[in-house]
């Protein structure tokens, strides 16, 4: 497999990203290994090459990692910062550590696996359309507003680390109107968004969860899928696809035309002219 190693130390983000793009687009390189990342933004941003792998071996990549990405796989052997997978269209991201705030904002498809904790506002406004179902699996715990405005996709929080923080922060799933969140917990999180209801998992949920967790464990080898799957999960789904349907009034002061107000008869041609 052809690969290239880039030492990112002292490289400006534009130079680094230019090198990555040149390598995969012009030279057809399939595996880009980055050493000593120092907060360079937009790594993998906008890349469309499906079978490319970008591996951040050491250091910390900057914000908006894999933003608008449409195919490649990104692996970070360490922590990542904010905005991972922002508006990502496809591909996979594995973070062998923690990640920051606003992960996978507006994500459209693809998968993100994070071994450690994530910050605030993760999974905001993830979407889905037919078989484009984005998913995020958080091995650790999540901050406040997890799944805010979620319009589709799958969010999983496993809480595998043993600190005493709650598994998800406050206002989880506020404004959620699509998709599903699975949380591995015995305790129902507090301050849940009022737009969701809690359910037990059914068979199809279990199947979805199983495949995601197996993929998670394949990458993060210290965890065993069977062990995780034995635990109790709860499922959050929105009550309505239209959470604010009733908040706004028709406003301009006349009754809505009702179908049967008068049956709106069409005048028939015979009547009209004969």
């Amino acid at each position: 497999m052809n690969s290239i190693t880039i030492d990112a130390l002292n490289l400006y983000y534009r130079e680094l990203n230019f090198k990555i793009k040149e390598a995969v687009r012009k030279e057809g390189i399939k595996k880009v290994i980055i050493k000593n990342a120092r907060g360079q933004r937009f790594i993998g941003t906008g890349l469309k090459e499906k079978d490319v792998e970008i591996i951040i071996e050491s250091g910390v990549p900057g914000n908006d990692l894999a933003m608008f990405m449409d195919g490649p796989t990104v692996k970070v052997f360490g922590n990542a910062q904010d905005g991972v997978g922002n508006t990502m269209n496809n591909g996979k991201v594995f973070i062998h550590g923690d990640a920051g705030d606003v992960i996978c904002y507006g994500m459209r498809n693809g998968k993100i696996f994070i071994k450690g904790n994530v910050g605030y506002r993760v999974g905001i406004h993830m979407k889905e359309y037919k078989d484009m179902i984005p998913s995020i699996v958080v091995g650790g715990k999540a901050g406040d507003f997890f799944g805010e405005y979620m319009a589709g996709g799958i969010g999983v929080v496993l809480g595998l680390n043993n600190d005493d923080k709650p598994i998800v922060g406050r206002y989880c799933a506020t404004g959620m109107h699509g998709g599903v969140i699975y949380i591995r917990t015995e305790k129902i999180p507090t301050y849940l968004g009022k737009e969701v209801k809690i359910f037990e998992l059914n068979e199809s949920d279990k199947e979805k969860l199983k495949s995601l967790i197996e993929e998670f464990c394949q990458e993060f080898k210290e965890y065993k899928a069977e062990d995780i799957l034995k635990s109790r999960f709860i499922k959050l789904i929105p009550v309505s696809k239209r959470p604010y349907g009733r908040l706004y009034s028709p406003g301009n002061h006349f009754p809505l035309p009702e179908e049967n107000y008068f049956s709106n008869k069409k005048i028939d041609i015979e009547k009209k002219y004969y």
Partner: protein
């Protein structure tokens, strides 16, 4: 028939001249609000005043001009404070306890400064120019310009530019179609505007609804928008357009997110936006990856990175109190153009209370932003695009003289397609096939006709702008941009004079 007790009286009265009505039934068939009804037994067509929204479809379609729509007078005791509208709003809320929703731009009587600004013309000391026979240039370039460039001469004394300038949008006429999403307006409306823009050498804007597959062919003349809902945003979309616009705010609803009700989300919209049919399309109020100006820079550069630095990136904000400082920050954050949308800017749906009360008039915003950017020496680094209720070419040319590079027209553009500004866009049953997704209504707007009419408007305005420039003795619009000496104020007082940076007429 259902009788609901309501304190709200009718808004319009449908008057039908029975002597002219030939019972053809066009009005009955065409009104999606069911305001006309054919009473078979008596062979009469009746109006149902309560249902009428005053959009004029029946008036236009009636082959014998038998229909008049009149505004219903205030049936209540006259009161300066408690006008009919205020009372009706109040009754509405008393009945439903909801937020009042409206469409289109604010009809409130905030002063329109355009009407109080007059233009200059040449007399004697310098000649006016005849645009019909002499060159009269309105070509405009949008994008970041360097402060200076480097020129070298080759062996043959031929000059050559050494400085590479960043990508620019080339406009044959400094008027573009404002962002209106597929969702808020119909695909046929989008097609009309896209076609008109591409034929006139200007640009249309996708709004935040993504780019329908039929519209990719207009990509060269398309500005694609990235808003907080990120609908339909992916790399191909970003690359399909000529420029990318980040929408932070909208003049009609500063600080408010978007909300496309689920009933408007049909198959085509769900494909374009990649979301399930019938689901609400909610755009959060902020971009959740922008909580500060540094974050805006990050988003601007992530888009530049994703498009390989080939597309200019615009940032659109609504005109608010601190607009000059915000615009300055946006320019410093690396935007190639700043778009400002004034308080009279339109919308498909917004809470009435926000639309009518939040934001500042665009005239003042253009003036302060242009002045601030010049003071800071960064005016060249970004273009300034103004939006929000431009009604005719005089408004446009005054905006340019105040300091804008180009303007966006939204409502005016929709009016070329038939819009009568009835303000019912949020209802989704627009009789003119514009702000609706219902198949039987959208087919009423044939994009062939729509494109022609939108194009005609641009043509007419372009020519009028040329006439006005010629009258001023200027033959390139660049020489008018920011040239406030060509403006005078009538009946504007301090401190607005100094904010606008223009002299009173006679001075």
């Amino acid at each position: 028939m259902k009788f609901t007790f309501s304190l709200k009286p009718e808004n319009f009265i449908i008057e039908r001249d029975d002597e002219r009505c030939i019972r053809c039934g066009a009005c009955v068939q065409q009104c999606a609000y069911n305001a006309h009804y054919y009473l078979e037994e008596k062979d009469k067509v009746l109006g149902i005043n309560h249902n009428c929204v005053g959009d004029g479809r029946c008036v236009a379609i009636c082959p014998t001009n038998a229909i008049r729509i009149k505004q219903a007078e205030n049936p209540y005791r006259p009161n300066y404070n408690w006008t009919k509208e205020r009372m009706m709003d109040l009754y509405e809320q008393a009945e439903n306890g909801t937020v009042l929703l409206v469409g289109m731009g604010a009809p409130t009587p905030h002063p329109v400064y355009w009407d109080k600004i007059v233009l200059n013309a040449s007399q004697v000391t310098n000649p006016s120019i005849d645009p019909l026979r002499e060159p009269m240039e309105v070509k405009t370039f949008l994008g970041s310009k360097p402060d200076k460039i480097e020129v070298v001469f080759d062996k043959n004394h031929k000059p050559e530019i050494k400085t590479r300038i960043t990508p620019q949008l080339e406009l044959e006429v400094p008027i573009m179609f404002a962002a209106m999403s597929f969702g808020a307006i119909s695909l046929n409306a989008c097609k009309s505007l896209a076609k008109a823009a591409s034929e006139m050498g200007t640009f249309w804007n996708t709004g935040e609804g993504g780019l329908h597959k039929d519209l990719y062919k207009y990509g060269k003349n398309t500005i694609v928008q990235v808003a907080s809902g990120r609908f339909g945003v992916h790399v191909d979309y970003l690359k399909a357009g000529a420029a990318v616009e980040i929408k932070i705010g909208q003049g009609a609803k500063p600080g408010i997110g978007g909300h496309l009700p689920g009933e408007k989300v049909n198959h085509e919209i769900s494909v374009t936006r990649a979301m399930p049919e019938g689901s609400d399309a909610i755009s959060p109020a902020p971009h959740h990856d922008i909580y500060s100006i540094e974050d805006l820079r990050q988003l601007i550069y992530s888009i530049k990175e994703a498009t390989d630095y080939e597309k200019p990136v615009f940032v659109k904000i609504s005109a608010v109190h601190n607009v000059a400082a915000i615009a300055s920050g946006i320019v410093r954050a690396g935007a190639d153009a700043v778009v400002i949308d004034g308080i009279r800017g339109g919308t498909g749906a917004a809470p009435k209370i926000i639309r009518d009360n939040v934001g500042i008039p665009i005239e003042l915003a253009i003036a302060v932003v242009d002045e601030r950017l010049r003071k800071e020496g960064i005016r060249n680094h970004a273009s300034l695009i103004a939006a929000g209720g431009f009604r005719n070419s005089a408004d446009v040319i005054k905006a340019i003289a105040l300091g804008a590079d180009a303007v966006y027209i939204g409502t005016a553009a929709l009016m070329t397609l038939g819009c009568h500004v009835c303000g019912m866009c949020y209802k989704g049953i627009c009789n003119w096939g514009i702000a609706t997704q219902r198949d039987d209504l959208t087919k009423r707007l044939n994009p062939e006709i729509g494109a022609e009419r939108a194009k005609n408007l641009l043509k007419g305005w372009k020519h009028e702008i040329q006439e006005m420039l010629g009258a001023m003795g200027i033959n390139s619009i660049g020489s008018l941009r920011g040239n406030r000496l060509n403006l005078r104020a009538v009946d504007i007082h301090e401190p607005y004079l100094s904010i606008l940076g223009i002299k009173p007429a006679g001075a």
